[in-house]
């Protein structure tokens, strides 16, 4: 049963967006439902984000972002976890006249989390789990220069960014659990003193899991809200195309755990939004991921 609960924590996991509001919006950050698990983890995650951009209220362009991440997660001791990701992104903007494609390595990120609460029942099944985290995104990816380039299309932001997050999971009965998560990103400035505004994200999901033969299906349904502060250039806050605003979304995922492999499909659709004074509209977010779970060696278990 412990295993069931822990695996039930597995679908979104560490994600720092390389571009906060790229012609559109990326998720802020999430360690998601793997928070209470003590497996090591390596994997690949792919995400497609689609946006429309408007000029004077008329559709002017469409943007599509395809981001792929090599990810890992490792457990240091009983309470400390390290997450990391190296992204590669392909972005395409299509206007009436032409299409522009920008691709390259994004900014890698590392996140350190600490389990503040880890309450188990007599069967050693986790009942309540609270994780807090601190992360950093490093500006080593390909980034554009504002205002010359279409900066929002680039995979990197060119800035050091910091992340703070808290993630709480509560088990409800044998098959359900609830998770709430909040995160805040502090964005730095790039070499030309362009700075994306800070962003905040809160989300809550209900998780359901069911065993089928030797596999396990885990599904989730929840809500997410993102806020983005306005970007600034050379210390002055932008008033037009400032990447600021909010998005409220519904999100869902289906996951299959079989042997040591976890396959996941995620979808997100905005319910309401106001981005860059209505100049940008998020259409949908789709995700696909494959992770391999590495069981802890016996001597690692014995340490705990």
């Amino acid at each position: 049963m412990k295993y069931i609960f822990l695996i039930g924590m597995l679908f979104s996991y560490a994600q720092l967006s390389a571009c906060d509001l790229c012609g559109g919006v990326g998720s802020n950050a999430s360690i998601g439902i793997f928070a209470a698990n003590q497996f090591h983890l390596v994997g690949w995650r792919s995400q497609l984000r689609s946006f429309d951009s408007y000029l004077f209220g008329i559709k002017h362009s469409s943007e599509m972002y395809w981001q792929n991440d090599l990810t890992f997660r490792t457990q240091l001791g009983r309470k400390v976890q390290i997450y990391g990701a190296i992204p590669f992104q392909v972005a395409r903007q299509k206007t009436d006249f032409n299409a522009t494609v920008v691709q390259g390595i994004g900014d890698p990120n590392v996140l350190l989390t600490y389990a503040l609460i880890d309450r188990k029942d007599s069967m050693h099944v986790t009942q309540d789990f609270l994780n807090i985290g601190l992360g950093v995104k490093m500006p080593v990816g390909k980034s554009g220069n504002y205002p010359v380039d279409l900066k929002n299309l680039y995979p990197g932001t060119g800035s050091w960014d910091g992340l703070f997050l808290a993630n709480y999971t509560h088990r409800i009965g044998t098959r359900f659990s609830f998770q709430g998560e909040a995160s805040h990103t502090l964005n730095g400035a790039d070499q030309s003193s362009f700075r994306y505004g800070n962003s905040t994200q809160v989300s809550s999901v209900f998780i359901y899991n069911q065993k089928v033969n030797s596999s396990r299906f885990i599904s989730s349904l929840g809500l997410q809200q993102d806020w983005f502060a306005a970007s600034s250039y050379q210390g002055v806050q932008l008033t037009e195309k400032a990447n600021n605003g909010y998005v409220g979304s519904v999100k869902a995922s289906i996951n299959l755990l079989t042997y040591n492999w976890l396959f996941s499909i995620q979808a997100q659709k905005s319910l309401f939004q106001e981005l860059s004074q209505g100049a940008v509209q998020q259409k949908f977010v789709l995700g696909l991921s494959v992770h391999y779970l590495i069981k802890k060696k016996q001597h690692e278990k014995n340490k705990h």
Binding site: L55, F56, F97
Partner: protein, 121 residues
């Protein structure tokens, strides 16, 4: 029979535009553009029906020589455009910025233009 066939080909498609309003938001007419500055050509085209594309051009106001142009055949009732031209003229030049919309499937067009003065280095 040939006459009927011809009529069917040349007759109006239902929903095609018969007129369009072209608004040029930037630049203002007769603006002066310094050397190395960028001309932002922004505006909208709103038809009273479906249109069949549009063209933006940057041309010499006196000779008509076209320095750059952008064409689209996208069908829509409205368009928004935002293109740029970098002033690197070696002589003072009057530049014509022109918007031309294709109103219907027969290629009937409407246009609007403004002039700006580009200064050399």
């Amino acid at each position: 029979m040939a006459f009927i066939a011809l009529l069917s080909v040349t007759s109006c498609h239902k929903g095609d535009a018969t007129s369009a309003t072209i608004d040029i938001m930037e630049p203002m007419a007769n603006d002066t553009i310094a050397y190395s500055d960028t001309v932002h050509f922004e505006g909208t085209i709103n038809g009273n029906g479906k249109m069949y594309g549009y063209k933006l051009s940057f041309a010499n106001a006196f000779s008509g020589d076209e320095y750059a142009s952008f064409s689209s055949e996208a069908k829509a009732k409205s368009y928004a455009f935002d293109e740029h031209w970098h002033n690197q003229f070696s002589d003072t030049t009057m530049l014509t910025l022109k918007v031309e919309a294709t109103l219907d499937h027969n290629g009937i067009k409407t246009n609007k233009y403004i002039n700006v003065l580009c200064l050399p280095q």
